[in-house]
């Protein structure tokens, strides 16, 4: 028989990398809670989960999703049922174009979108502009207007604040601020920048634990630019019909969290390193007398969970990419012009920043595993297509002539001669894709896909190097393991004649 095992190359790869997707179902009696990627939101999200469970409901927490827009569209699409939000954000940012005047109008407008809002939870987490206390004293900064006299100050704001209309653009216009050196960065990193002196001014959330911890001073908003940011819970109106007990349990939060308690809870997590579940639970036990919670999932349990999620992301996306990219590479090698178009498209996909590609998927596929898998799939195409194409094109013409003159028809030529000879190049492409895929999959956590990105995100938020390493080290190890596996498969499948150091130039 002609080497049948070449035929098996692809299917074996798929078996090795393939894992079955465990994508969340939509119609189960489970409430899905979302939270933004900062500590307070995660604590509040955790409270919602525990309140749901307190009345016998099942709840899932999609923690620290990448920003307000992601959560808002996920709520509209029904990807999540509820998340903690702030009135000011809705009025001035999310729904700014609608031009709503107050909370009452907001509530009416939301109901037209089939979204409901609980009464305020009790605290106002407004934006503030902060500087280190000693700098404030030295430069006599008390009000935001005072910044006008110091154009050389370096400003660093959270990425969302940089873009939001109730953030830097509006603030700059209202106060006519002259500073040129303004950068966007992660909100939690901004505090560290301030501490190290790399930044002078940043945006604060008034309940942030760091204000006291780092000895910061909030400048007076003398032109009353910032609105109130009353914390509320947004939930889909259909949840009230589907799971009324859970909704009424949520509303028990109304009015019970004041600024001091919220600030203290933030500090417990960020400064004292207590887990959000624990902090949320302690508060709810004290105020609402819900049951005390058992210890949260163990570290190893968590690691295993992230490993499974990561393997699904990589396995499914990479298998699908191999299945599509190898045939595309073959077509590209056969048809010059079509080939240019295919390579062009795959190349353009590669130039889209990976973070952006993930976020682009949200309107189409929502949040969680599926959009992340599609983004990773698109990202994995180019190296495989390109190497398949190159591997086939690099076969010496005399070899192709020989195969044709022997009478092998095109299909036979491809199977018996061309693919085996291009195998080394194709494998190199697959390995490149696999390593990129494992690394890029860590960004999946930003859109709720979990994986090793989850501890990395949390670690960045909490400035916890250990937590970052808990994601980064397994991801690096996984990349090595995947590469090793493919080396093994390649060694098993690559024809022995090609394993010799040199291919004769025939």
């Amino acid at each position: 028989m002609i080497r049948r095992r070449h035929l098996l190359t692809l299917s074996t790869l798929l078996l090795l990398t393939g894992a079955t997707a465990s994508v969340g179902a939509a119609d189960d009696p489970e409430v899905v809670v979302g939270s933004k990627s900062f500590t307070e939101s995660v604590i509040l999200g955790e409270m919602l989960v525990q309140l749901a469970e307190d009345v016998g409901g099942a709840a899932r927490h999609r923690r620290q999703l990448g920003g307000t827009r992601v959560l808002w569209s996920a709520l509209l699409e029904g990807e999540i049922d509820a998340y903690p939000e702030y009135t000011g954000t809705l009025l001035r940012e999310t729904l700014a174009e609608v031009g709503l005047a107050d909370a009452a109008e907001l509530e009416r407008y939301l109901s037209s979108l089939s979204i409901s809002m609980t009464p305020p939870l009790g605290f106002n987490n407004t934006y503030a502009i902060g500087v280190k206390a000693e700098l404030a004293d030295r430069m006599e900064l008390r009000r935001i207007s005072d910044l006008r006299d110091h154009p050389d100050l370096i400003l660093g704001f959270g990425n969302e604040f940089m873009e939001r209309s109730d953030g830097w653009p509006g603030l700059r216009d209202r106060y006519r601020l002259p500073q040129q050196n303004v950068r966007g960065l992660d909100h939690d990193l901004a505090y560290r920048g301030l501490e190290s002196g790399a930044l002078h001014v940043t945006d604060l959330y008034s309940t942030d634990a760091e204000i006291a911890y780092y000895g910061l001073r909030a400048l007076e908003d003398d032109l009353a630019f910032f609105p109130r940011y009353d914390a509320v819970v947004l939930y889909r109106t259909d949840l009230a019909h589907r799971l009324p007990r859970i909704v009424s349990s949520f509303s028990r939060l109304a009015g019970i969290i004041d600024e001091k308690s919220m600030s203290r809870m933030n500090a417990r997590v960020k400064i004292h390193g207590v887990q959000e579940e624990r902090v949320a639970n302690e508060f709810l036990v004290q105020t609402l007398e819900i049951r005390e919670r058992a210890e949260p999932i163990s570290e190893t349990g968590r690691l295993w969970q992230h490993t499974k999620e990561h393997l699904v992301l990589v396995g499914v996306s990479l298998s699908a990419a191999i299945l599509l990219a190898v045939p595309l590479g073959i077509v590209a090698a056969r048809q010059q012009r079509l080939g240019q178009i295919i390579l062009g498209i795959a190349g353009v996909l590669q130039t889209i920043p990976s973070l952006a590609l993930f976020v682009f998927m949200i309107p189409v596929l929502g949040i969680g595993g599926p959009p992340a898998i599609v983004a990773l799939f698109l990202y994995s195409l180019l190296p495989i297509v390109r190497n398949t194409h190159a591997g086939l094109r690099d076969i010496p013409p005399s070899i192709i002539d020989s195969a044709r003159a022997l009478g092998l028809p095109p299909g036979g030529r491809l199977r018996i001669v061309e693919l085996p000879m291009a195998a080394r190049s194709i494998f190199a492409g697959v390995k490149t894709s696999a390593v990129i895929n494992v690394g890029t999959a860590t960004l999946g956590a930003l859109i709720g896909a979990g994986g090793y990105g989850q501890p990395i995100l949390t670690g960045i938020r909490l400035d916890d190097m250990g937590l970052i390493l808990q994601g980064a080290v397994p991801a690096a190890l996984l990349a090595l393991v995947v590469q090793g596996l493919f080396d093994l498969v390649e060694w098993r499948l690559l024809p022995r004649g090609l394993r010799a150091a040199d291919i004769p130039r025939t």
Partner: protein
């Protein structure tokens, strides 16, 4: 057995072969010879269907070669090129038997044929499971010839089969080839640029220049009665090694 009728081919604007007629009798040996770029390899590629004629037709065993019947016709032709064109990823055995196995010939028949051919081309024992890179250039050409002969074709096409070998090996292989052709009685169409080699194989020489056949005949005819000054020029250019032969025929 094989005839070309007004076959022409150009690559882009430059004509590789002007309209040409050529006929091969069954069992004959025909050597296409001439300086590089004269169109001799183009004729071979046209016969093997590796490139298609712009005009004219190639008839093989009475049938005009078309895209449809080409695949079948190729099974009755053996093709050997310079440096063999062996598949580097297949063992010697697999290289020789690739087409027979593709056509699902019986394995007993395949083994028998393989042994027969190894003997015919004097391939040393124990090389069957090696890979082309592990063989010498001469051994690779012997294997290439085995592969061409595997399905017992009627026509052998050889494109500079010995072009890349060093002189000693080349000389030995020339002798072996000549005796193999003599034993098999197949129709042979071979391309070479080396007149000594052409003469060595005997048969009809077809001297070409710039896409045209200049003269066709035995070496004696070419020497005695050159069709144009180029014939003499081409022969005398390679005269030194041919001195003895020239004297014998003069």
């Amino acid at each position: 057995m094989l005839s070309l009728s007004q076959v022409a081919k150009s690559y882009g604007d430059s004509p590789a072969l002007h309209p040409t007629d050529l006929t091969l009798e069954p069992g004959s040996t025909t050597i296409l010879i001439g300086p590089s770029g004269c169109g001799k390899s183009t004729i071979l590629r046209l016969v093997a269907g590796l490139t298609s004629p712009d005009a004219g037709s190639v008839f093989f065993e009475g049938t005009r070669l078309t895209r449809e019947n080409l695949q079948m016709a190729r099974l009755r032709m053996g093709y050997v090129i310079q440096e063999g064109g062996l598949f580097p990823h297949l063992s010697i055995r697999d290289n020789v038997t690739v087409m027979a196995r593709y056509l699902r010939r019986e394995s007993a028949w395949i083994d028998e044929r393989l042994a027969e051919l190894a003997e015919l081309v004097h391939l040393p024992d124990g090389l069957m499971d090696r890979f082309p890179a592990e063989l010498s250039g001469g051994q690779r050409q012997r294997v290439s010839l085995m592969r061409a002969l595997m399905l017992d074709p009627d026509l052998l096409l050889l494109d500079e089969p010995l072009g890349a070998l060093d002189p000693m090996i080349r000389f030995r292989l020339q002798n072996d080839l000549r005796s193999i052709f003599g034993q098999l009685g197949k129709t042979v169409l071979m391309v070479t640029h080396d007149i000594a080699e052409a003469v060595h194989f005997g048969g009809v020489l077809v001297l070409m220049k710039q896409g045209r056949v200049v003269q066709r005949g035995s070496f004696a005819e070419l020497v005695r009665d050159p069709a144009e000054p180029f014939v003499e020029e081409f022969i005398t250019a390679q005269k030194e090694p041919l001195n003895t032969l020239m004297e014998a025929f003069a």
